[in-house]
Protein backbone atom coordinates (compact mmCIF):
# COMPACT_ATOMS: atom_id res chain seq x y z
CA UNK A 1 0.00 0.00 0.00
CA UNK A 2 1.30 3.41 -1.01
CA UNK A 3 -0.19 5.69 1.59
CA UNK A 4 -0.16 9.47 1.82
CA UNK A 5 -1.45 10.93 5.05
CA UNK A 6 -2.28 14.58 5.76
CA UNK A 7 0.43 15.82 3.45
CA UNK A 8 1.27 19.51 3.43
CA UNK A 9 3.75 20.95 0.96
CA UNK A 10 5.13 24.46 0.88
CA UNK A 11 7.05 26.00 -2.01
CA UNK A 12 9.66 28.71 -1.39
CA UNK A 13 8.70 28.75 2.31
CA UNK A 14 5.53 30.69 1.51
CA UNK A 15 3.23 29.07 -1.05
CA UNK A 16 1.10 26.37 0.56
CA UNK A 17 0.26 24.10 -2.36
CA UNK A 18 -0.93 20.89 -0.73
CA UNK A 19 -3.12 21.18 2.35
CA UNK A 20 -3.73 17.92 4.07
CA UNK A 21 -3.81 15.43 1.24
CA UNK A 22 -4.53 11.81 2.05
CA UNK A 23 -4.76 9.04 -0.45
CA UNK A 24 -3.91 5.40 -0.83
CA UNK A 25 -2.97 3.12 -3.69
CA UNK A 26 -3.45 -0.53 -2.89
CA UNK A 27 -1.03 -3.10 -4.29
CA UNK A 28 -2.06 -4.10 -7.81
CA UNK A 29 -4.73 -1.40 -8.04
CA UNK A 30 -5.18 1.46 -10.50
CA UNK A 31 -6.10 4.71 -8.80
CA UNK A 32 -6.96 7.84 -10.76
CA UNK A 33 -6.17 11.34 -9.56
CA UNK A 34 -8.09 14.05 -11.38
CA UNK A 35 -7.88 17.78 -11.11
CA UNK A 36 -7.59 20.99 -13.07
CA UNK A 37 -4.32 22.73 -13.85
CA UNK A 38 -2.62 24.00 -10.73
CA UNK A 39 -4.54 21.76 -8.36
CA UNK A 40 -1.28 20.28 -7.06
CA UNK A 41 -1.26 16.89 -8.73
CA UNK A 42 2.31 17.11 -9.97
CA UNK A 43 3.43 18.51 -6.63
CA UNK A 44 1.94 15.47 -4.91
CA UNK A 45 3.93 13.18 -7.21
CA UNK A 46 7.09 15.20 -6.57
CA UNK A 47 6.51 14.85 -2.84
CA UNK A 48 6.18 11.09 -3.16
CA UNK A 49 9.29 10.68 -5.33
CA UNK A 50 11.51 13.07 -3.38
CA UNK A 51 11.93 15.60 -6.17
CA UNK A 52 10.52 18.58 -4.26
CA UNK A 53 13.96 19.79 -3.29
CA UNK A 54 14.82 20.66 -6.88
CA UNK A 55 11.83 22.98 -6.98
CA UNK A 56 12.43 24.56 -3.58
CA UNK A 57 9.49 22.70 -2.11
CA UNK A 58 9.31 21.09 1.29
CA UNK A 59 7.03 18.67 3.09
CA UNK A 60 5.92 20.48 6.21
CA UNK A 61 3.42 18.00 7.59
CA UNK A 62 2.12 14.54 7.09
CA UNK A 63 3.84 11.41 5.93
CA UNK A 64 4.16 9.03 3.03
CA UNK A 65 4.61 5.31 3.54
CA UNK A 66 5.29 2.48 1.14
CA UNK A 67 4.05 -0.84 2.48
CA UNK A 68 4.19 0.60 5.98
CA UNK A 69 7.70 2.01 5.71
CA UNK A 70 8.09 5.80 5.65
CA UNK A 71 9.87 7.11 2.56
CA UNK A 72 13.31 8.63 3.02
CA UNK A 73 13.13 12.41 2.67
CA UNK A 74 15.24 14.09 0.01
CA UNK A 75 16.53 10.83 -1.42
CA UNK A 76 14.96 10.06 -4.79
CA UNK A 77 17.24 7.04 -5.09
CA UNK A 78 16.05 5.64 -1.76
CA UNK A 79 12.45 5.97 -2.88
CA UNK A 80 13.14 4.16 -6.15
CA UNK A 81 14.72 1.41 -4.07
CA UNK A 82 11.54 1.15 -2.02
CA UNK A 83 9.73 0.31 -5.25
CA UNK A 84 8.17 3.56 -6.42
CA UNK A 85 8.90 4.76 -9.97
CA UNK A 86 7.58 7.80 -11.74
CA UNK A 87 6.86 8.70 -15.34
CA UNK A 88 7.21 12.44 -15.31
CA UNK A 89 4.95 14.88 -17.06
CA UNK A 90 6.07 15.57 -20.61
CA UNK A 91 7.86 12.18 -20.78
CA UNK A 92 11.32 13.61 -20.04
CA UNK A 93 13.20 10.92 -21.90
CA UNK A 94 16.91 11.47 -22.48
CA UNK A 95 16.66 12.59 -26.09
CA UNK A 96 20.40 12.48 -26.79
CA UNK A 97 20.75 8.88 -25.65
CA UNK A 98 19.63 5.77 -27.48
CA UNK A 99 16.51 3.84 -26.56
CA UNK A 100 18.52 1.11 -24.93
CA UNK A 101 20.62 3.58 -22.95
CA UNK A 102 17.43 5.19 -21.68
CA UNK A 103 16.24 1.81 -20.53
CA UNK A 104 19.53 0.97 -18.89
CA UNK A 105 19.25 4.22 -16.95
CA UNK A 106 15.84 3.17 -15.72
CA UNK A 107 17.63 0.18 -14.21
CA UNK A 108 20.32 2.38 -12.66
CA UNK A 109 19.71 0.99 -9.17
CA UNK A 110 18.97 -2.48 -10.42
CA UNK A 111 22.02 -3.28 -12.57
CA UNK A 112 22.05 -7.01 -11.90
CA UNK A 113 18.83 -7.83 -13.69
CA UNK A 114 19.11 -5.47 -16.67
CA UNK A 115 18.93 -8.31 -19.22
CA UNK A 116 15.89 -9.92 -17.68
CA UNK A 117 14.09 -6.59 -17.36
CA UNK A 118 14.97 -5.58 -20.93
CA UNK A 119 13.35 -8.80 -22.14
CA UNK A 120 10.25 -8.18 -20.03
CA UNK A 121 9.93 -4.59 -21.24
CA UNK A 122 10.49 -5.49 -24.89
CA UNK A 123 7.69 -8.06 -24.61
CA UNK A 124 5.35 -5.27 -23.53
CA UNK A 125 6.67 -2.74 -26.05
CA UNK A 126 7.84 -4.55 -29.20
CA UNK A 127 8.28 -1.17 -30.96
CA UNK A 128 11.11 -0.29 -28.62
CA UNK A 129 12.97 -3.48 -29.42
CA UNK A 130 12.92 -2.63 -33.11
CA UNK A 131 14.29 0.82 -32.37
CA UNK A 132 16.61 0.02 -29.49
CA UNK A 133 19.67 1.49 -31.20
CA UNK A 134 18.05 4.69 -32.46
CA UNK A 135 18.33 8.02 -30.72
CA UNK A 136 15.41 8.48 -28.35
CA UNK A 137 14.76 12.05 -29.48
CA UNK A 138 13.83 10.81 -32.93
CA UNK A 139 11.01 8.57 -31.71
CA UNK A 140 7.42 9.66 -32.31
CA UNK A 141 5.42 11.09 -29.42
CA UNK A 142 3.65 7.81 -28.73
CA UNK A 143 6.88 5.86 -28.83
CA UNK A 144 8.51 8.35 -26.49
CA UNK A 145 5.69 7.86 -24.01
CA UNK A 146 6.16 4.11 -24.28
CA UNK A 147 9.87 4.59 -23.69
CA UNK A 148 9.12 6.66 -20.60
CA UNK A 149 6.82 3.92 -19.32
CA UNK A 150 9.35 1.23 -20.16
CA UNK A 151 12.16 3.16 -18.47
CA UNK A 152 10.15 3.38 -15.26
CA UNK A 153 9.38 -0.35 -15.43
CA UNK A 154 13.09 -1.20 -15.65
CA UNK A 155 13.35 -0.57 -11.91
CA UNK A 156 10.72 -3.27 -11.29
CA UNK A 157 8.53 -0.91 -9.28
CA UNK A 158 5.75 -2.06 -7.01
CA UNK A 159 4.03 1.26 -7.53
CA UNK A 160 4.10 3.28 -10.72
CA UNK A 161 3.20 6.95 -10.74
CA UNK A 162 2.08 8.25 -14.12
CA UNK A 163 1.83 11.99 -14.71
CA UNK A 164 -0.47 12.65 -17.65
CA UNK A 165 0.61 9.83 -19.94
CA UNK A 166 -1.99 10.87 -22.51
CA UNK A 167 -0.60 14.40 -22.82
CA UNK A 168 -0.24 15.48 -26.44
CA UNK A 169 -1.12 12.10 -27.94
CA UNK A 170 -3.67 11.32 -30.64
CA UNK A 171 -6.86 9.53 -29.47
CA UNK A 172 -5.76 6.24 -31.04
CA UNK A 173 -2.47 6.42 -29.14
CA UNK A 174 -4.23 7.34 -25.92
CA UNK A 175 -6.19 4.10 -26.25
CA UNK A 176 -2.98 2.19 -26.84
CA UNK A 177 -1.32 3.74 -23.77
CA UNK A 178 -4.44 2.96 -21.72
CA UNK A 179 -4.28 -0.69 -22.74
CA UNK A 180 -0.60 -0.77 -21.86
CA UNK A 181 -1.31 0.66 -18.41
CA UNK A 182 -3.85 -2.10 -17.87
CA UNK A 183 -1.32 -4.68 -19.06
CA UNK A 184 1.33 -3.30 -16.68
CA UNK A 185 -1.19 -3.35 -13.85
CA UNK A 186 -2.04 -6.97 -14.56
CA UNK A 187 1.54 -7.94 -13.77
CA UNK A 188 0.86 -6.77 -10.22
CA UNK A 189 2.09 -3.18 -10.31
CA UNK A 190 -0.02 -0.60 -8.48
CA UNK A 191 -0.64 2.49 -10.59
CA UNK A 192 -1.40 6.06 -9.54
CA UNK A 193 -2.70 7.68 -12.70
CA UNK A 194 -2.74 11.47 -12.77
CA UNK A 195 -4.81 12.63 -15.69
CA UNK A 196 -6.69 15.46 -17.27
CA UNK A 197 -8.31 12.95 -19.59
CA UNK A 198 -10.85 11.85 -16.99
CA UNK A 199 -12.80 9.51 -19.25
CA UNK A 200 -9.70 7.49 -19.99
CA UNK A 201 -8.49 7.46 -16.39
CA UNK A 202 -11.81 6.51 -14.81
CA UNK A 203 -12.46 3.81 -17.40
CA UNK A 204 -9.57 1.73 -16.08
CA UNK A 205 -9.25 2.86 -12.46
CA UNK A 206 -10.86 1.13 -9.53
CA UNK A 207 -10.85 4.24 -7.36
CA UNK A 208 -10.65 7.94 -8.07
CA UNK A 209 -9.67 11.10 -6.25
CA UNK A 210 -10.46 14.65 -7.36
CA UNK A 211 -8.14 17.47 -6.32
CA UNK A 212 -8.86 21.16 -6.28
CA UNK A 213 -6.49 23.90 -5.06
CA UNK A 214 -4.41 21.55 -2.98
CA UNK A 215 -7.18 19.53 -1.39
CA UNK A 216 -8.89 16.26 -2.13
CA UNK A 217 -12.52 17.21 -2.70
CA UNK A 218 -13.94 13.89 -3.88
CA UNK A 219 -12.87 10.38 -3.03
CA UNK A 220 -15.02 7.62 -4.49
CA UNK A 221 -14.86 4.37 -6.42
CA UNK A 222 -14.29 5.13 -10.10
CA UNK A 223 -17.69 3.85 -11.16
CA UNK A 224 -19.43 6.26 -8.80
CA UNK A 225 -17.27 9.15 -10.00
CA UNK A 226 -18.24 8.37 -13.57
CA UNK A 227 -21.88 8.74 -12.54
CA UNK A 228 -21.36 11.86 -10.41
CA UNK A 229 -23.19 14.92 -11.70
CA UNK A 230 -20.40 17.41 -10.96
CA UNK A 231 -17.71 15.19 -12.39
CA UNK A 232 -19.75 14.69 -15.52
CA UNK A 233 -20.11 18.40 -15.91
CA UNK A 234 -16.60 19.57 -15.04
CA UNK A 235 -14.34 16.74 -16.18
CA UNK A 236 -16.19 14.56 -18.62
CA UNK A 237 -18.18 17.20 -20.46
CA UNK A 238 -20.87 14.78 -21.56
CA UNK A 239 -23.71 17.24 -21.39
CA UNK A 240 -23.89 18.83 -24.80
CA UNK A 241 -25.52 22.06 -23.77
CA UNK A 242 -26.54 24.77 -26.13
CA UNK A 243 -24.71 28.02 -25.51
CA UNK A 244 -28.11 29.63 -25.18
CA UNK A 245 -28.61 27.77 -21.89
CA UNK A 246 -25.12 28.50 -20.64
CA UNK A 247 -25.78 32.20 -20.73
CA UNK A 248 -26.81 32.93 -17.20
CA UNK A 249 -27.50 36.64 -17.46
CA UNK A 250 -30.16 38.65 -19.20
CA UNK A 251 -29.12 40.75 -22.09
CA UNK A 252 -29.46 44.31 -20.99
CA UNK A 253 -31.55 46.68 -22.93
CA UNK A 254 -29.26 49.15 -24.60
CA UNK A 255 -30.49 52.46 -25.60
CA UNK A 256 -27.65 53.70 -27.66
CA UNK A 257 -26.61 52.02 -30.88
Amino acid sequence: MLQVTNLEVVYDDVALVLRGISLAVGPGKIVALLGANGAGKTTLLRAITGLLDVHDGEITKGQITVDGRPIPRKSPAGIVRLGVSQVMEGRRIFAELTVEENLRLGAHLNPRSVKENLGRVFDLFPVLEQRRRSTAGYLSGGEQQMLALARALMAQPKYLLLDEPSLGLAPRLVEQIRDLIVAINETGTGVLLVEQNATMALSIASHGYVMETGKIVLDKPAAELLGDEDIREFYLGTKSKSFKDVKHYQRRKRWLS
Partner: protein, 294 residues
Protein backbone atom coordinates in the same frame (compact mmCIF):
# COMPACT_ATOMS: atom_id res chain seq x y z
CA UNK B 1 58.18 19.35 -45.85
CA UNK B 2 60.01 17.70 -42.97
CA UNK B 3 59.96 20.99 -41.16
CA UNK B 4 56.21 21.17 -41.57
CA UNK B 5 55.61 17.63 -40.37
CA UNK B 6 57.90 18.07 -37.41
CA UNK B 7 55.97 21.18 -36.45
CA UNK B 8 52.74 19.21 -36.72
CA UNK B 9 54.04 16.47 -34.44
CA UNK B 10 55.20 19.04 -31.90
CA UNK B 11 51.77 20.61 -32.21
CA UNK B 12 50.07 17.29 -31.61
CA UNK B 13 52.13 16.86 -28.46
CA UNK B 14 51.21 20.30 -27.25
CA UNK B 15 47.61 19.80 -28.35
CA UNK B 16 47.32 16.55 -26.37
CA UNK B 17 48.02 18.46 -23.19
CA UNK B 18 45.47 21.10 -24.10
CA UNK B 19 42.95 18.40 -24.90
CA UNK B 20 43.31 16.84 -21.44
CA UNK B 21 42.92 20.20 -19.74
CA UNK B 22 39.96 21.15 -21.89
CA UNK B 23 38.29 17.80 -21.21
CA UNK B 24 38.39 18.61 -17.52
CA UNK B 25 36.64 21.93 -18.12
CA UNK B 26 34.03 20.30 -20.34
CA UNK B 27 33.30 17.43 -17.94
CA UNK B 28 32.68 19.83 -15.07
CA UNK B 29 30.65 22.11 -17.30
CA UNK B 30 28.46 19.30 -18.55
CA UNK B 31 27.73 18.05 -15.06
CA UNK B 32 27.26 21.33 -13.23
CA UNK B 33 26.79 24.00 -15.95
CA UNK B 34 29.65 25.91 -14.39
CA UNK B 35 33.06 26.69 -15.81
CA UNK B 36 35.59 25.80 -13.17
CA UNK B 37 38.49 28.20 -13.12
CA UNK B 38 40.23 26.02 -10.57
CA UNK B 39 41.70 23.79 -13.26
CA UNK B 40 45.03 25.70 -13.52
CA UNK B 41 45.64 25.19 -9.81
CA UNK B 42 44.95 21.46 -10.04
CA UNK B 43 47.31 21.23 -12.97
CA UNK B 44 50.09 22.90 -11.01
CA UNK B 45 49.30 20.85 -7.90
CA UNK B 46 49.51 17.61 -9.88
CA UNK B 47 52.87 18.51 -11.40
CA UNK B 48 54.31 19.54 -8.04
CA UNK B 49 53.10 16.31 -6.43
CA UNK B 50 54.89 14.35 -9.13
CA UNK B 51 58.15 16.21 -8.40
CA UNK B 52 57.92 15.07 -4.77
CA UNK B 53 56.76 11.52 -5.43
CA UNK B 54 59.03 10.70 -8.36
CA UNK B 55 61.92 9.80 -6.02
CA UNK B 56 60.27 6.90 -4.23
CA UNK B 57 57.76 5.84 -6.89
CA UNK B 58 59.40 6.43 -10.27
CA UNK B 59 57.82 8.56 -13.00
CA UNK B 60 54.77 6.47 -13.87
CA UNK B 61 54.05 5.54 -10.27
CA UNK B 62 54.33 9.17 -9.23
CA UNK B 63 52.08 10.19 -12.11
CA UNK B 64 49.42 7.68 -11.09
CA UNK B 65 49.61 8.67 -7.44
CA UNK B 66 49.49 12.39 -8.24
CA UNK B 67 46.52 11.86 -10.52
CA UNK B 68 44.59 10.12 -7.78
CA UNK B 69 45.63 12.64 -5.12
CA UNK B 70 44.71 15.64 -7.28
CA UNK B 71 41.41 13.96 -8.09
CA UNK B 72 40.76 13.66 -4.35
CA UNK B 73 41.81 17.27 -3.84
CA UNK B 74 39.32 18.37 -6.50
CA UNK B 75 36.68 16.20 -4.87
CA UNK B 76 37.36 17.90 -1.54
CA UNK B 77 37.08 21.33 -3.12
CA UNK B 78 33.80 20.35 -4.72
CA UNK B 79 32.36 19.09 -1.44
CA UNK B 80 33.43 22.06 0.67
CA UNK B 81 33.37 25.06 -1.65
CA UNK B 82 31.10 24.26 -4.55
CA UNK B 83 28.40 21.91 -3.27
CA UNK B 84 26.89 24.42 -0.81
CA UNK B 85 26.40 26.74 -3.78
CA UNK B 86 24.18 24.36 -5.72
CA UNK B 87 21.20 26.23 -7.08
CA UNK B 88 22.99 29.59 -7.08
CA UNK B 89 23.67 31.35 -10.38
CA UNK B 90 26.50 29.84 -12.40
CA UNK B 91 28.34 33.14 -12.22
CA UNK B 92 28.64 32.94 -8.42
CA UNK B 93 30.05 29.44 -8.54
CA UNK B 94 32.49 30.39 -11.31
CA UNK B 95 33.84 33.21 -9.14
CA UNK B 96 34.20 30.81 -6.22
CA UNK B 97 36.28 28.48 -8.36
CA UNK B 98 38.44 31.47 -9.24
CA UNK B 99 39.03 32.00 -5.53
CA UNK B 100 39.79 28.31 -5.04
CA UNK B 101 42.27 28.53 -7.89
CA UNK B 102 44.19 31.35 -6.27
CA UNK B 103 44.14 29.74 -2.83
CA UNK B 104 45.37 26.37 -4.08
CA UNK B 105 48.08 27.98 -6.19
CA UNK B 106 49.41 29.99 -3.26
CA UNK B 107 49.71 26.82 -1.21
CA UNK B 108 51.30 24.89 -4.05
CA UNK B 109 53.77 27.71 -4.75
CA UNK B 110 55.02 27.33 -1.20
CA UNK B 111 55.98 23.76 -2.09
CA UNK B 112 57.83 24.85 -5.19
CA UNK B 113 60.11 27.22 -3.31
CA UNK B 114 63.34 28.39 -4.86
CA UNK B 115 64.69 25.06 -6.04
CA UNK B 116 64.45 23.84 -9.57
CA UNK B 117 61.84 21.13 -9.44
CA UNK B 118 61.59 18.53 -12.14
CA UNK B 119 59.08 15.78 -12.75
CA UNK B 120 61.95 13.37 -13.41
CA UNK B 121 60.61 11.99 -16.65
CA UNK B 122 62.58 9.35 -18.54
CA UNK B 123 62.76 11.36 -21.79
CA UNK B 124 64.16 14.77 -21.08
CA UNK B 125 64.85 16.42 -24.40
CA UNK B 126 66.04 13.29 -26.20
CA UNK B 127 64.93 12.75 -29.76
CA UNK B 128 64.12 9.84 -31.97
CA UNK B 129 64.10 9.55 -35.73
CA UNK B 130 60.79 8.33 -37.12
CA UNK B 131 60.22 8.01 -40.88
CA UNK B 132 62.87 10.61 -41.55
CA UNK B 133 61.50 13.06 -39.00
CA UNK B 134 63.35 14.10 -35.91
CA UNK B 135 60.83 13.95 -33.11
CA UNK B 136 61.14 14.65 -29.44
CA UNK B 137 60.32 11.60 -27.37
CA UNK B 138 58.30 13.66 -24.94
CA UNK B 139 55.90 14.62 -27.71
CA UNK B 140 55.33 10.96 -28.50
CA UNK B 141 54.71 10.29 -24.82
CA UNK B 142 52.24 13.16 -24.63
CA UNK B 143 50.31 11.98 -27.68
CA UNK B 144 50.17 8.35 -26.58
CA UNK B 145 49.15 9.16 -23.01
CA UNK B 146 46.43 11.56 -24.11
CA UNK B 147 45.13 9.08 -26.69
CA UNK B 148 44.91 6.30 -24.11
CA UNK B 149 43.18 8.53 -21.55
CA UNK B 150 40.72 9.95 -24.07
CA UNK B 151 39.83 6.48 -25.35
CA UNK B 152 39.34 5.25 -21.80
CA UNK B 153 37.15 8.21 -20.92
CA UNK B 154 34.95 7.86 -23.98
CA UNK B 155 34.54 4.15 -23.32
CA UNK B 156 33.64 5.01 -19.72
CA UNK B 157 30.91 7.43 -20.81
CA UNK B 158 29.60 5.01 -23.36
CA UNK B 159 29.59 1.69 -21.60
CA UNK B 160 29.60 2.01 -17.82
CA UNK B 161 26.63 2.53 -15.59
CA UNK B 162 28.05 5.64 -13.94
CA UNK B 163 29.19 7.10 -17.27
CA UNK B 164 25.70 6.69 -18.63
CA UNK B 165 24.27 8.30 -15.51
CA UNK B 166 26.62 11.26 -15.98
CA UNK B 167 25.46 11.78 -19.55
CA UNK B 168 21.83 11.52 -18.50
CA UNK B 169 22.28 13.95 -15.62
CA UNK B 170 23.92 16.47 -17.91
CA UNK B 171 20.93 16.25 -20.23
CA UNK B 172 18.13 16.40 -17.66
CA UNK B 173 19.08 16.47 -14.00
CA UNK B 174 15.62 16.02 -12.56
CA UNK B 175 14.70 13.15 -14.84
CA UNK B 176 17.99 11.48 -13.96
CA UNK B 177 17.21 11.85 -10.26
CA UNK B 178 13.82 10.25 -10.86
CA UNK B 179 15.67 7.17 -12.16
CA UNK B 180 17.63 7.02 -8.93
CA UNK B 181 20.81 8.64 -10.20
CA UNK B 182 22.63 10.47 -7.42
CA UNK B 183 23.33 13.88 -8.90
CA UNK B 184 25.70 14.67 -6.04
CA UNK B 185 27.68 11.59 -7.00
CA UNK B 186 27.78 12.77 -10.59
CA UNK B 187 29.15 16.16 -9.50
CA UNK B 188 31.77 14.48 -7.34
CA UNK B 189 32.96 12.10 -10.03
CA UNK B 190 33.10 14.94 -12.57
CA UNK B 191 35.27 17.10 -10.36
CA UNK B 192 37.54 14.22 -9.44
CA UNK B 193 37.95 13.32 -13.11
CA UNK B 194 38.73 16.90 -14.04
CA UNK B 195 41.28 17.11 -11.24
CA UNK B 196 42.98 13.91 -12.34
CA UNK B 197 43.09 15.04 -15.96
CA UNK B 198 44.60 18.38 -14.92
CA UNK B 199 47.29 16.57 -12.95
CA UNK B 200 48.26 14.43 -15.94
CA UNK B 201 48.24 17.50 -18.19
CA UNK B 202 50.40 19.45 -15.75
CA UNK B 203 52.93 16.67 -15.50
CA UNK B 204 53.22 16.39 -19.27
CA UNK B 205 53.58 20.15 -19.61
CA UNK B 206 56.52 19.94 -17.24
CA UNK B 207 58.12 16.99 -18.99
CA UNK B 208 61.62 18.00 -20.08
CA UNK B 209 61.28 21.34 -18.32
CA UNK B 210 61.05 22.74 -14.84
CA UNK B 211 57.97 23.15 -12.72
CA UNK B 212 57.56 26.78 -11.78
CA UNK B 213 54.80 28.95 -10.39
CA UNK B 214 53.97 30.43 -13.77
CA UNK B 215 53.24 27.11 -15.42
CA UNK B 216 49.54 27.49 -14.67
CA UNK B 217 49.15 30.08 -17.43
CA UNK B 218 49.28 27.21 -19.91
CA UNK B 219 45.95 26.03 -18.55
CA UNK B 220 44.41 29.28 -19.69
CA UNK B 221 44.80 28.06 -23.26
CA UNK B 222 42.11 25.54 -22.43
CA UNK B 223 39.60 28.40 -22.59
CA UNK B 224 40.15 29.12 -26.30
CA UNK B 225 40.15 25.37 -26.82
CA UNK B 226 36.74 24.78 -25.25
CA UNK B 227 35.31 27.78 -27.02
CA UNK B 228 36.60 26.42 -30.32
CA UNK B 229 35.33 22.89 -29.62
CA UNK B 230 32.08 23.84 -27.91
CA UNK B 231 31.62 24.20 -24.16
CA UNK B 232 29.58 21.04 -23.76
CA UNK B 233 31.29 18.69 -26.16
CA UNK B 234 34.04 16.33 -24.97
CA UNK B 235 34.87 15.40 -28.56
CA UNK B 236 35.09 19.09 -29.36
CA UNK B 237 37.51 19.59 -26.47
CA UNK B 238 39.84 16.93 -27.83
CA UNK B 239 39.68 18.13 -31.42
CA UNK B 240 39.89 21.78 -30.38
CA UNK B 241 42.96 21.02 -28.26
CA UNK B 242 44.69 19.34 -31.15
CA UNK B 243 43.79 22.13 -33.59
CA UNK B 244 45.00 24.88 -31.28
CA UNK B 245 48.20 23.00 -30.44
CA UNK B 246 49.11 22.34 -34.06
CA UNK B 247 48.24 25.88 -35.08
CA UNK B 248 50.39 27.30 -32.33
CA UNK B 249 53.41 25.22 -33.34
CA UNK B 250 52.93 26.05 -37.00
CA UNK B 251 52.85 29.73 -36.24
CA UNK B 252 55.96 29.35 -34.10
CA UNK B 253 57.70 27.35 -36.82
CA UNK B 254 57.01 29.79 -39.61
CA UNK B 255 57.21 32.95 -37.59
CA UNK B 256 60.49 33.96 -39.18
CA UNK B 257 58.63 34.46 -42.44
CA UNK B 258 56.51 37.16 -40.85
CA UNK B 259 58.97 39.39 -39.03
CA UNK B 260 56.49 42.26 -38.97
CA UNK B 261 54.30 40.25 -36.55
CA UNK B 262 56.94 40.43 -33.87
CA UNK B 263 58.71 37.79 -31.85
CA UNK B 264 56.21 35.71 -29.91
CA UNK B 265 53.08 35.67 -31.96
CA UNK B 266 52.53 31.96 -31.28
CA UNK B 267 51.76 32.73 -27.65
CA UNK B 268 48.67 34.71 -28.57
CA UNK B 269 47.56 32.48 -31.44
CA UNK B 270 45.01 30.55 -29.32
CA UNK B 271 43.37 33.79 -28.25
CA UNK B 272 43.21 35.06 -31.81
CA UNK B 273 41.49 31.80 -32.72
CA UNK B 274 39.12 32.31 -29.80
CA UNK B 275 38.22 35.80 -31.02
CA UNK B 276 37.52 34.57 -34.51
CA UNK B 277 35.43 31.64 -33.26
CA UNK B 278 33.41 33.91 -31.00
CA UNK B 279 32.68 36.18 -33.93
CA UNK B 280 31.85 33.50 -36.47
CA UNK B 281 30.51 30.48 -34.57
CA UNK B 282 30.08 31.41 -30.90
CA UNK B 283 28.84 27.99 -29.82
CA UNK B 284 31.95 26.30 -31.20
CA UNK B 285 32.45 23.42 -33.58
CA UNK B 286 30.37 20.86 -31.71
CA UNK B 287 28.65 22.86 -29.00
CA UNK B 288 24.92 22.97 -28.48
CA UNK B 289 23.56 26.23 -29.82
CA UNK B 290 21.63 27.32 -26.75
CA UNK B 291 24.51 26.75 -24.38
CA UNK B 292 24.86 29.59 -21.88
CA UNK B 293 27.82 31.88 -22.26
CA UNK B 294 29.76 32.55 -19.11
Amino acid sequence: MDELLESVVRGLGRGSVYALLALGFVIIFKATRVISFAQPAFMLAGAVMVTYLVGPLGFWGALAAATVLTGLLALGVERTAVRPMVGRPAFVVAIITLGVDIAVRVIVNAYIGNDVRQVGDPWGLSRVELAGLIIEKRDVARIVTAAVLVAALFAYFRFTRMGLAMRAASYDQEAAMAQGVSVGGVFAVSWAMAGGLAAVAGTFVAVGENVDGLMWTIALVALPVIILGGLDSPAGAVLGGVIVGVLQELVAGYQSHFPWLGGNISVITPYVVMLIVLLVKPYGLFGTREVERV
